[in-house]
């Protein structure tokens, strides 16, 4: 199925549409994102990201009309 992945990296963000199984594990998603960004396929994010850039990131999964994964840094701060 087509899944929209929203990727954020150091204040930059972009969307990447990919066909894959929605049950794929987090590490595979992170690897797909890293490869897509490095290949310049994610508009809005400069391709020069380091190796394992998303290793400590979190994947949020939304299943609606359009399945969406959000690849984001941790958000521990509110106060």
């Amino acid at each position: 199925m087509n899944i929209l992945i929203n990727i954020t990296w150091q204040g930059q963000s972009g969307n990447y549409l990919v066909n894959m199984d929605q049950g794929v594990d987090d590490n595979t998603i992170k690897n797909i994102c890293e490869e897509a960004v490095r290949a310049g396929e994610v508009l809005g994010i400069a391709p020069n990201i380091p190796k394992n850039a998303f290793a400590n990131f979190v994947i949020d999964r939304f299943h609606g009309e359009q399945t969406r994964f959000v690849v984001r840094p941790k958000v521990p701060f509110g106060v």
Partner: protein, 190 residues
């Protein structure tokens, strides 16, 4: 409806500033005190330094806008969470630590109360607004990790706070739940 804000810091204080015209009962829970350094990133005036944050927000909303706010100047724990949140029709969670977030999430899920969360990443690079069913509690990083407490983060803090209040408005209007991804360059709702 009573709307209880948990946390009156960067996100909570600005969200309350923006929520002041909601025609609902407002309350805030925060045990912390206003420090001088907070003036850079939180909605407090310098006369409030030293006061409890919940009490300071109550005074500011009353003095500036004649808006009433119930202040709960205590630390939310598993022992008092029912007392603090049982009357809430909506819980707005803006805490800065995983332990308090977990207490709230456990409580609102057991009571099936609606809850919306907001959080910021380190260095002001990203923020989220999430309804509880989609919210993942992120552990704090290592001690000394970069935060959003310094100068230069207000634009992002205000974007996250205003998106949070927009989600509250949609909820109050019985519209579908709205989640947000917010970066310094983009804000996207879905």
């Amino acid at each position: 409806m009573k709307i209880v804000f948990c946390g009156g810091g960067a996100l909570g204080s600005h969200a309350l500033f923006l929520a002041r015209d909601l025609e609902h009962e407002l309350a805030v829970v925060d045990f912390d005190r206003v420090e001088t350094k907070n003036l850079a990133s939180q909605w407090f005036v310098k006369q409030m330094v030293g006061k409890n944050k919940a009490t300071a927000l109550k005074m500011q909303l009353l003095n500036f806008y004649d808006v009433k706010l119930q202040d709960c100047a205590i630390k939310l724990t598993s022992l008092n969470v029912d007392t603090l949140l049982s009357g809430a029709g909506l819980v707005v969670e803006c805490f800065d630590n995983a332990e308090s977030r977990r207490i709230i999430q456990d409580y609102i899920r057991s009571k099936q109360k609606p809850c919306v969360h907001a959080g910021l990443a380190a260095n002001g690079e990203f923020g989220v607004v999430r309804w509880d069913e989609h919210f993942t509690i992120d552990e704090e990083g290592s001690p000394g990790q970069a935060t959003c407490e310094g100068r230069g983060f207000l634009p992002l803090i205000l974007r996250v706070s205003s998106s949070l209040v927009a989600s509250i408005q949609f909820f109050l209007a019985d519209k579908p739940q709205v989640n947000w991804n917010i970066s310094p360059r983009n804000a996207e709702s879905f």
